[in-house]
C-alpha cells in the first residue's frame, strides 16, 4: 500500500496558519475556486463584552406550557432573566364571582390540571370552613386518598418531563405508565381522568365504586417498584448528577424570603410542610415523614420529590387500612342534594333539589383561607362571602406563580442549558400561574 501524506494544513481546514478559525466558503465557481461572499475576510464574530438577547418560548417544549423567558447572555452565561407570563390568563377569579360555590369546583380542575382532584378537595375545604361544616370520617379519608393520588400524578409528570428536559427518556415512559394507572383509578371514581370535579361542599361527588379499594391496594403494592427503578436509573447517574448538582441553589433564608413553598422550600432545608405544621383532613394522625434537602439545588429538589412519592405511598397504605364505613356526605340539607330517586318521586325533595341547584347554598358572611400542601407547594383558596350564594372574592394562592417569580434569582450566573434544568425543577404549571 502506497504511503499517503496528509497535509496538516488541509486536515485542520478550520484554522489558518496563525491558529485563527476560517470559514469554509459555501460557493465555488465552475473551476472549483471559492467565491468570496463578501469583500471582508471571513472571521468568527468576536463578541467581546457584547451581550446577546435570547428569547425562549412562549411556544417551547422545555418551558412546560406558555412561559416566556427573555435572557441576556454573556457568551453562554445568563446575566439577566426577564420572565413573561399571562399567555394562558383566563380570569378564573373573575368568573368565580359569578358562580355558586359548587359551580366553582370545575374551575379548580383547570388551573393546576395535574392536581385536579387535589384542587377540588382544597377548594371545598375552604368553602366548608366558610359554611361552618365538618365533613364525615369517611369523606376525610377519601380526600386524603384523592390528594395523595394527585400528588403522585403531579410528581410523576414532573419526573417525566424533567428527565426529558435533562436528556433521559426512559424515566418519562415509566412515570407516564404509572400515571396512567392512577388516572384509571380516578376515572372509575369520578368519571373523568383529568378534569375530575370530584369534591362537593360537604362531601364528595360520589363514593368510590365497588372493588376500587382493591385496585388502589394493587397500585400501592406495585408502584414502589417503579420509584425504585427511577431511583436506580437517575440518582447516581453521572449525567443526571452532573446536570443537576449545584444548579439554581437557594439558601433557606432566601427561599423563605422569596416565598417558595413545597419541595422547592424543603430542598433548601426549611422543614415546613402544611400537612405537618397546619394540618387538615387529619393529616396529623398519619405516620409519614417530610424529606428535607440541604443544598437547595436542582438535585435536592429531585431527591425531595422522589422521597415524597414514597411517603405518599405510606400515607395511602394507612388510609386504605383505616377507611371507615358510613356516609360520604354530611347530613345537611342546606348543602347536599337529595337522592335522585327521591327528587323524582317526592314533591318536597324535588323542591329541595330545585332550590339548591337554582339558588345554591348560602354561607354566612365571612372569609376563609385553608392552606393545603399541593404537589407544587402551599396552595389555598381564600374566599370572602357577603352572605349570598356567590363569593365576593375567590382567590387562588398559586404556589407555582410564587415559585417561578424566583427564577431570575436562580438562573443568574448559570449557563443557558442550565436554565432548562432549573426551570424544570420549579415544577410549574402554567394553568395555575396564569389562571
Amino acid at each position: 500500500m502506497a504511503t499517503r501524506t496528509v497535509d496538516v494544513a488541509l486536515a485542520t481546514s478550520g484554522l489558518d496558519a496563525s491558529g485563527k478559525p476560517v470559514r469554509t466558503p459555501l460557493v465555488t465557481d465552475a473551476a472549483g475556486n471559492a467565491i468570496a461572499l463578501n469583500a471582508h475576510p471571513p472571521v468568527e464574530p468576536d463578541f467581546g463584552g457584547e451581550h446577546m438577547l435570547i428569547n425562549i418560548g412562549p411556544q417551547h417544549p422545555a418551558t412546560h406550557g406558555v412561559l416566556r423567558l427573555v435572557l441576556e447572555l454573556d457568551g453562554e452565561t445568563v446575566v439577566r432573566c426577564v420572565p413573561h407570563v399571562g399567555y394562558l390568563h383566563c380570569g378564573f377569579e373573575k368568573i368565580g364571582e359569578y358562580r355558586q360555590y359548587n359551580q366553582i369546583v370545575p374551575w379548580t380542575d383547570r388551573e393546576d390540571y395535574l392536581n385536579s382532584i387535589g384542587n377540588n378537595c382544597a377548594f371545598v375545604l375552604s368553602a366548608e370552613r366558610l359554611f361552618g361544616v365538618d365533613i364525615t370520617p369517611r369523606c376525610t379519608v377519601l380526600r386524603v386518598i384523592a390528594m395523595e393520588l394527585s400528588r403522585i400524578i403531579s410528581h410523576l409528570v414532573w419526573l417525566g418531563t424533567t428527565s426529558i428536559d435533562i436528556g433521559a427518556f426512559t424515566p418519562f415512559l415509566w412515570a407516564f405508565q404509572e400515571r396512567e394507572n392512577v388516572y384509571q383509578l380516578l376515572e372509575s371514581w369520578t368519571g373523568a381522568r383529568l378534569t375530575t370535579s370530584g369534591a362537593r361542599v360537604g362531601g364528595m361527588m360520589a363514593d368510590i365504586p365497588d372493588g376500587w379499594l382493591d385496585r388502589l391496594r394493587n397500585f400501592v403494592r406495585t408502584f414502589p417498584r417503579t420509584i425504585a427503578e427511577v431511583d436506580g436509573m437517575l440518582t447516581r447517574n453521572a449525567i443526571w448528577v452532573g446536570r443537576t448538582i449545584g444548579l439554581g441553589a437557594m439558601s433557606a433564608s432566601e427561599a423563605l424570603n422569596y416565598g417558595l413553598s413545597g419541595p422547592m422550600l424543603r430542598a433548601s432545608g426549611v422543614d415546613y410542610d402544611v400537612r405537618k405544621d397546619f394540618p387538615y383532613l387529619d393529616y396529623e394522625s398519619y405516620d409519614f415523614e417530610v424529606p428535607v434537602g440541604t443544598q437547595g439545588d436542582v438535585y435536592d429538589r429531585y431527591l425531595v420529590r422522589v422521597e415524597e412519592l414514597r411517603q405518599s405511598v405510606r400515607i395511602l397504605e394507612q388510609a386504605i387500612a383505616r377507611l371507615p364505613d358510613g356516609p360520604v356526605n354530611v347530613d345537611d340539607p342546606r348543602l347536599i342534594l337529595p337522592d335522585k330517586h327521591r327528587a323524582t318521586s317526592e314533591m318536597e325533595s324535588m323542591i329541595h333539589h330545585f332550590k339548591l341547584v337554582m339558588e345554591g347554598p348560602r354561607p354566612p358572611v365571612g372569609e376563609a383561607y385553608v392552606p393545603v400542601e399541593s404537589p407544587k407547594g402551599e396552595k389555598g383558596y381564600y374566599m370572602v362571602s357577603d352572605g349570598t350564594s356567590k363569593p365576593v372574592r375567590w382567590r387562588i394562592r398559586p404556589p407555582s406563580f410564587v415559585n417561578l417569580s424566583a427564577i431570575p434569582k436562580m438562573v443568574e450566573g448559570h449557563l443557558l442549558s442550565d436554565v432548562i434544568a432549573i426551570n424544570a425543577s420549579i415544577d410549574i404549571v402554567m394553568g395555575e400561574i396564569d389562571r
Partner: protein
C-alpha cells in the same frame, strides 16, 4: 431502599419529623371552627400595643385573625411582624385585594405566616375607592411580594409604593380596558367584541420586547426603521 433520599450522595438529604417547633405539641386539624370569635392570634394584640392608633381593629373570622391597619403604616406593621424576634413572620403567603359588591372600601389583604411560631395572620388595609389606590409595597421585607403585588396592581389598579418594577403581569402592557377584578368591570370586558377584535388585529406583533430588554446587545439597532420611529415617538412596547 433506605428511608433517606440519596443517603450516600454527599449527604444531600435527610429526613426530619417535620415539626418546625422543637418540643412543641403537634398541631391538630381544626374542627368546629366558629364563624366569628374564638382564640385570637396573640400577635394581633402585640401589634395593637406597639402601634396604637395605626391598628384600627382586630377580629377573628373563621378561626383566623384579621388585623386592620391604616394603609400608610402597613409596611411598618408588617416589617415589625417580620423582624421582631417574638413574632417572626418570615413567610409572606399572599398579597391580594377584596372589593365588596356594595361599593364599600377596597381592602388590601396580606396573608402572613410565622413558621417558627406556627401562626397565621391576615393583615388588612382599607382603601377609599374614590381616591388614588396607594399602599406601601412590602417588597423591601419580602422579595416574594414582587409578582404578587404586580398581579394585584394588574387586577385592581392598586399602586404599591416602593415596588421596583410595578407593571402588568397577567394582562399585556397595552391593555387599556382597566382592571379586571374591580366590581365595576363587566365580566365580558369593557370594550365591545368589535373593539376587542380591532385592537387584537391592529396590535403590533413586533413589539415583543420591553425597551429595557432591547437595550441588551444593542438590539434596538437591529429593529426595522419604521418601528424605531414609532418607538422614538414614545409608543410603549409590551410583551
Amino acid at each position: 431502599m433506605s428511608g433517606a433520599p440519596g443517603g450516600d450522595a454527599g449527604g444531600a438529604g435527610l429526613l426530619r419529623a417535620g415539626h418546625a417547633v422543637p418540643g412543641a405539641p403537634a398541631p391538630a386539624s381544626r374542627r368546629g371552627v366558629p364563624n366569628r370569635g374564638g382564640a385570637a392570634n396573640p400577635s394581633a394584640a402585640a401589634a395593637a400595643a406597639k402601634f396604637g392608633a395605626a391598628v384600627r381593629r382586630t377580629e377573628v373570622v373563621c378561626g383566623d385573625t384579621n388585623l386592620h391597619v391604616a394603609p400608610a403604616s402597613a409596611l411598618d406593621v408588617i416589617r415589625w411582624l417580620h423582624d421582631d424576634p417574638s413574632q417572626q413572620y418570615e413567610y409572606l403567603v399572599d398579597v391580594t385585594a377584596v372589593e365588596q359588591r356594595d361599593g364599600g372600601p377596597l381592602e388590601v389583604v396580606w396573608h402572613l405566616r410565622s413558621i417558627a411560631c406556627r401562626r397565621f395572620l391576615r393583615v388588612k388595609a382599607e382603601l377609599d375607592t374614590s381616591k388614588p389606590l396607594v399602599v406601601p409595597s412590602v417588597w423591601p421585607v419580602y422579595k416574594g411580594a414582587d409578582w404578587l403585588e404586580r398581579e394585584c396592581y394588574d387586577m385592581f389598579g392598586i399602586r404599591f409604593e416602593g415596588h421596583p418594577d410595578l407593571r402588568r403581569i397577567l394582562m399585556w402592557e397595552q391593555y387599556r380596558e382597566g382592571f379586571p377584578l374591580r366590581k365595576d368591570f363587566p365580566l365580558r370586558g369593557r370594550f365591545s367584541r368589535a373593539e376587542q377584535l380591532k385592537q387584537a388585529l391592529t396590535g403590533n406583533p413586533e413589539a415583543h420586547y420591553s425597551m429595557e430588554e432591547l437595550t441588551i446587545a444593542d438590539a434596538f439597532d437591529d429593529l426595522p426603521v419604521e418601528m424605531k420611529v414609532r418607538l422614538g415617538h414614545g409608543e410603549q412596547v409590551g410583551e
